[in-house]
């Protein structure tokens, strides 16, 4: 019993927290990047620019239908073949940002589509240009609708950072593996710690998503977006 309790010594806990810090860092960087690029790509996909929208749409579909692990491998082991060699942290940030941008873009498109056509028509008929209408009328409503969906997407992003252990990103999962690799008695305590730490982060984000859903009064309207999210969530 004492050997098991030794798993939670201060050194191990600090080591785990260092890993958790890398997890948070990678998550936050990729969340910011994927939020920006996701919104841009989603808008490009929605407005029908000749050729560009079709190409962007196709690329988004391809990325969404590939496993994230494949994209991580491709970034870390594949790209050096053409002379670009990122370190594990940057490789995982790039891979996650590419994958999650595609996911967010799909949510953004669904969010814009869920706004009634009358809003656009009304804005146009009061003399706004297409882009003004999009900027001042459609997007503010759409973003409000899709915030809970985007938060759920970011929950899965936090979980997915664990996949980057395979390219030796020194994250929470990796540090736990190092600890139980040195002392097999610590295996179960380490998995317990992993489960608890990931659960706390993800569940509090999920509560935040529910709160936002309530607060923004989008529970009904975001139903359509929610369907997409369920398809998007991993």
């Amino acid at each position: 019993m004492l050997t098991v309790l030794g798993a939670y010594s201060w050194i191990n806990i600090r080591f785990l927290l260092e890993g958790a810090w890398v997890t948070v860092l990678v998550s936050v960087c990729s969340i910011i990047l994927s939020y920006i690029f996701g919104i841009i790509l989603g808008i490009i996909r929605y407005v029908q620019i000749k050729y560009l929208s079709a190409i962007v749409g196709f690329v988004i579909d391809i990325i969404r239908n590939l496993p994230l692990i494949l994209i991580i491998f491709f970034t870390y082991f594949g790209l050096p073949n053409i002379g670009f060699k990122p370190d594990p942290i940057w490789a995982s940030v790039i891979a996650m940002a590419v994958f999650e941008s595609a996911m967010v873009a799909e949510i953004v498109r669904a969010g814009i589509v869920s706004i009634p056509v009358g809003q656009m028509e009304g804005a146009r008929s009061t003399g706004m240009t297409y882009w003004q209408a999009l900027r001042y009328i459609i997007l503010p409503q759409a973003i409000k609708n899709m915030i809970p969906a985007i938060v759920s997407q970011f929950i899965s992003l936090v979980k997915d950072t664990s996949l980057a252990t395979i390219i030796v990103l020194p994250d929470l999962m990796n540090h736990a593996q190092i600890i139980y690799g040195q002392n097999t008695n610590y295996t179960i305590p380490m998995f317990l710690a992993l489960a608890v730490m990931y659960f706390i982060v993800c569940y509090s984000l999920s509560l935040l998503s529910q709160y936002l859903d309530h607060r923004l009064g989008t529970a009904k309207k975001s139903g359509e977006v929610e369907e997409v999210v369920q398809s998007v969530e991993r």
Partner: protein, 212 residues
């Protein structure tokens, strides 16, 4: 890319088969378990509802990799020897069943409550009403999101690469280190994954539009 297919075609196809096999097994079990917990989430008994809720929230909020590694590392150490393929599939079943349970529950709740009340008023028991009235209607709503869950399952099955499950991703890694052509190998693996997921994804989008 073509040389990869020529030299390692057999290994890639074997991996594709393993990925498909694992996904189908996981889908069947996850559907059964997920639907079970979805029904438990709407029964009148509060205790059962809490059990279902806890199960779903726990497995939705823990990374798939942690669940899979648990079955790969801990179970063989203390309980019984299982292969990487089996532990990966078990992890996949537990993880996906939580998501499928949420999907099915939202399907059940989107059926008008009047249907249940009407069935109960006609003298059916709760379980009979569920079985003959609510579930058949719920499954109609649920089919497109379930299809999307299956696509996710195929993508998530790549986690078998971590536990030596000999799936497509694992074979891809072996070939990449054997041929020293990482980029074209991963492109080939990507094409094979897309063959599995992309048609299904477009079909589900078509189905969504048709049912809406």
């Amino acid at each position: 890319m073509i040389s990869i297919f020529q030299n390692y075609g057999g290994a890639l196809l074997y991996g594709l088969g393993q990925t498909l096999l694992c996904s189908i097994i996981a889908l069947i079990f996850a559907l059964i378990i997920g639907s079970g917990f979805a029904i438990l989430e709407v029964v009148p008994n509060k205790f059962l509802r809490i059990i279902a809720k806890v199960y779903i929230e726990v497995f939705r909020n823990i990374p798939l990799l942690v669940i899979t590694m648990f079955f790969y590392v801990v179970i063989p150490m203390y309980v019984v020897e299982i292969s990487g393929f089996v532990s990966g599939t078990i992890g996949l079943i537990l993880y996906s069943s939580a998501f499928i349970a949420e999907t099915v529950r939202s399907g059940i709740q989107s059926v008008d409550p009047g249907q249940m009340e009407g069935a109960r008023a006609n003298g059916l028991s709760f379980w009979q009403a569920m079985r003959y009235i609510v579930l058949p209607q719920a499954f109609r709503y649920v089919i497109p999101p379930l299809g999307n869950q299956f696509i996710n399952l195929v993508k998530n099955s790549s986690v078998l690469a971590f536990v030596a499950g000999f799936d497509l991703m694992y074979q891809g890694n072996v070939i990449a280190s054997d041929s020293l052509q990482s980029m074209s190998t991963y492109l080939c693996v990507g094409v094979l994954y897309l063959i599995l997921t992309l048609p299904l994804s477009y079909y589900m989008r078509y189905l969504e539009k048709k049912l809406a």
